[in-house]
Symmetry: D2
Subunit: 376 residues, 4 copies
């Protein structure tokens, strides 16, 4: 049993999504408005179909919080679905390429693919964002902040530069594609418009940035304690994310050692520090104290208006999988989901390193360690 | 408790490395020669320093195997270190950029960085390769084969094409850089020679290919059951691997949906199949039945002869971290380690899906499922 | 991650209880009436205070079930609380001996003990019974049945004899104290009446019986795979249960080896069998194929009308912890909760041994093993 | 992944036993003599057959410890077997009642029962005792001490009274049956002598006592966080232990509430305290700060010279399972094994609550909490 864990449940046209987050300390202030804000950020983004426009998802906290603070007991939450028609929806027998449809139907022995796609839908990430919003508040009380932005959309790529959480918050979310580079953002929107007309879809890449994590989260001592790998898993677990890198993981693999590694400096004021952060804040599977940088690569959406060939599962006849309307891209939203997953994994890592059953105890333990780091 | 698990232990100049692999069914044939062969593959590769040349690692099976077959009880193994001088080795106080040195010393409150680097060393991967060699034999008994090759070394990149395990085995390991493309291989070796002269190091990329995995391993139903993400974690947990992709994860993120997704076909003989495999054998976090393709991006080694700036931890004075001799690159070996990690995770997934406490039971359950898949 | 897991959430005067059960195969028939029947069984029992009399708990399935069958996705359920006044209830500052009150307040740094007792309440077991009701249906589809009865109440003890699930179901639940021995049952009720008058409380013991489990669940190969120990943990995790035995665990410790062990016989018709079952169906941490017998010892309830001395946590002044009305005993209900916990752990064990993502696959794997057992 | 974990491996006539303990903080002093002392305590005890007399088990630390302190990396250890003849030992085809033999052979599809009994043997507990000896040293550095004594042997039962660790250490281990009550001890030895003559075996009961655990280890918030239940599992996982109680778990179930619960007092000097400890130091699944008391009930050994009926597995003919020489009882040793398991689970609980990657950090966090408790 790990110290902090969560389960989600719910189908996209069922009653609701549910999540239980178990293992938080008591006394963490939980602000409902912040949760709602995260829910909206996930629903936002240029390139979404019309259905996301209307009503925002509302999170109902069912347990574990009282008078605005966590109790230490499990936090349960639900998010109602607007359309809970799952029992009346028609049978689906044409698996869509790129989706869980075919493998899921075979695995679970379903003859109605709806039994797969209802759960495989990215609707589930709403529950993750709610869980992540709570973790973010816990991290915030410990001086750790998480943000993200879009760094590529389809063929439009930006050159990632060092960026602060403050600037990300001030800028990225004000932009319909959540991209800092205003010129690239315009190109991305134009590309989305073109794909919308052509019935095609787009993928891209996002970057999550975390500030304030102390050095020494995760560990080199065992393969399954390497925190960068755990963050990688968390980001890869997001729908349509098929690649991940920590810092300059992909580009750095083609550099030479003398070009890549972040040299070590020391000053009285700041202690040990680096002038570069190509490692993405990780050495030996541990945080270095520099900002954590994790990037995800997302494939273009699998539900597209352009026809893809498939097979009807009963007749085995070839068919063409089409769909009426669809999002062109959800990369901006995926970055928000990734923030949630990163926030969860970092909260786990903080609790593993610092223990603590109340926020006060956790903060005290962290303060003791921060002094120890300063005196190292 | 997951069904199959392993722990490793051991410092690079301690007595030995140890691993315990717990949860295998009984009756799996274990061939010592195959384990030794894997150990050699890990030590092999152009670009290694002179120390790896002499004696091969030998694995001693300490438990869990009798008369050449697993017993169902935990398999313990040890690998002796040639140089077990850890207690006499000098204190280290200059952390090397790119290594676990500084973060590890701070985290564990060590004033002798040797206490970190002895465990953080890639020597530990020898234990993983031994564990993976056993898992590979279990998988092999189930018709699943794992292989790998180098697809990039420094700035020399190849264009990955569909390749079979048979061809990989026949070709990749015969080549000092484990690269299929003979022309690229020559360029890679030239680049290594140049870097060796200049005291620099190289990273690169490798691809692991798995054939024979049935559709439906892993699951879309919960974020921590997505097998591609678990494979990603396993590969990212390897020393110096900072990026990972499933199939065309990185390049695919810049394509359009109509260009990327693998269309679905059906024939009496083969059942459902795809003409392309850009998904790397995964949809919705589950195997599709196509070959599994996972690629890792490895940073250049952090131990280089070219000077990198650092700080002495007691005096806080700036120093220059140098090293006498070193490998130029270990990308060929990293691919072998990645095979081991992939083999472990796939064996876990097979046991989770098919159960079975004897190989006979596991094979029977798998055969039943393969029939079910055919009749789907 | 274990194959099957569940989390519960909810405070006793919060909105509702919530549970998520993750890891069930698809295709398991789920009958709402059976769940409701289990919920009623938990609320039933002579010795309960008046509050339990009125309305039965209703379980709402929120996900994971469609058209009466599991989907393979997580099953979420909620149970509304009749009184959701948690935010308006008064502060509690007098910890009750025998409760989580004091340790919980210290641990979580709560100055209002209500923040502890709301979660520590046995109300939480309603969620477990709902989860167990679902597991029981999965087990039932595999030929495994779980039942229980009360074998001791306060000083009134019965002599446990071999008893079938069929008889338990026909008899135990028809009896207000869920005891098979009619004479003892009468004595128990008289004792409860006396304690009710005197403001005192009673503990006791219950026995859970499982029929149909195949031999070989659990394992001797590792300490944390011993299924009897896992069942022990599950039963000890129930509120007020402070002792557990497998078969004749306690009494058997005073017997001699020649009196205790269950000799082994064989017949064509039944295969291997035993004429006695003092082992409670376990040898070496594994099921033997005989009925599983696990017994729990429950302390008398800690909320009693007779005064117990305590201390006010702010003033540190001695106080007397009293309570208006209370149950005299809940041993009959505890047996029902124990059935749920046992059902969960056995479902875990079945899935670990047999795998399977659909009921059909699981049944096929089990049938194959049953044939193997017969031919052993 | 839990913070602290261990695996053991090894067959009783294999090369050696191996254990890996992963997750300890760095800087814990490890004293080889203390480990050896624990190993001897396990081999000690009136009623053991002649084989245990000669040579003591020696533990070799293979990793994770340097200059007498833990490194934070996994601690591997091995214990050589004197007789490593497993490959030459004869086939066994007569399952012994009360052993893992039959269920294990069926489960793992073994036709040679030796493949089961080699691992099912209590020899494995030597590895646990070594692991526990290390955990005890970690606990000791945190002010927590673990001891045990025998409270019943066969029909000879003592009345457990409150006893200190100091007294247990001074007395129990000086006594060949590890029993504090000198008169009972004599009776026990006489009973053992009689059984030795008659070829019979004896079970009994032991009590583990822990002093110094702070209040608030474990938790009421979730069923699988209840520390008393986890301790119960750990003790039940020991060979031949079939029952467990926390404090007065069994006897207390027949008392009334007014007789059982430990009233709460307060004094400036000691803070909150109790005058009795019938709860065994647990309320709501959490430590109360009073001594932890866990008792195990052990069945008589299954290997006895008196004949028990069984069946030859190939011919299915009835046979009589006899054995040449055997221990009469191992209850004194089982108490030592139980100390080890309790020490492991408590170290887990301490690390979960207090975190810490160095002993210094762990001690600092604990000291902060102890102040918080005082000021509560």
């Amino acid at each position: 049993m790990s110290r902090l864990r969560f389960l989600t449940a719910g189908e996209s046209h069922g009653t609701c999504l549910v999540a239980i987050l178990e293992g938080l300390p008591a006394g963490v202030p939980i602000d409902a408005a912040s949760i709602e804000a995260e829910m909206k950020r996930r629903q936002f983004g240029y390139g979404r179909g019309p259905r996301m426009k209307f009503e925002a998802d509302r999170v109902e906290l069912l347990s574990g919080v009282r008078h605005g603070k966590t109790l230490g007991s499990p936090v349960a939450l639900s998010i109602a679905n607007k359309d809970a028609s799952i029992d009346r929806l028609p049978v689906v027998t044409q698996p869509r390429p790129g989706h869980a449809d075919l493998a899921g139907a075979i695995k679970y022995d379903h003859r109605d693919i709806r039994n797969v796609l209802e759960r495989a839908s990215a609707r589930e990430t709403a529950a993750r964002v709610a869980v992540g919003a709570i973790c973010k508040q816990a991290l915030s009380a410990l001086g750790i902040e998480v943000a993200s932005h879009v760094i590529a959309l389809g063929s439009i790529r930006t050159v990632p530069a060092r960026v602060t959480v403050t600037r990300l918050r001030a800028t990225a979310d004000r932009n319909p594609v959540r991209c800092l580079d205003a010129r690239a953002a315009k190109q991305m929107m134009r590309l989305i418009d073109r794909c919308a007309r052509e019935g095609d879809t787009l993928g891209g890449a996002f970057e999550v940035v975390v500030e304030g994590a102390p050095p020494g989260l995760g560990s080199h001592v065992h393969y399954d304690r390497r925190l960068d790998a755990l963050l990688g898993q968390a980001v890869l677990s997001i729908h349509a994310v098929k690649g991940v890198e920590v810092g300059e993981g992909v580009r750095g693999s083609s550099l030479r050692g003398s070009q890549l590694h972040d040299e070590i400096f020391y000053s009285k004021a700041k202690g040990f520090s680096r002038s570069s952060n190509r490692s993405g804040g990780f050495e030996g599977g541990m945080t270095t104290g520099e900002p954590v940088i994790v990037r995800g690569f997302m494939k273009p959406l699998s539900t597209l208006r352009k026809p893809l060939r498939s097979v009807e599962i009963h007749t085995k006849k070839p068919v063409v999988a089409t769909v009426e309307r669809s999002d062109v891209t959800t990369v901006p939203a995926a970055g928000v989901v990734a923030e949630a997953m990163v926030a969860f994994v970092l909260t786990q890592a903080m609790l593993e390193k610092f223990g603590g059953d109340s926020l006060r105890e956790l903060q005290r333990n962290l303060a003791g360690y921060r002094r120890q780091v300063q005196q190292f």
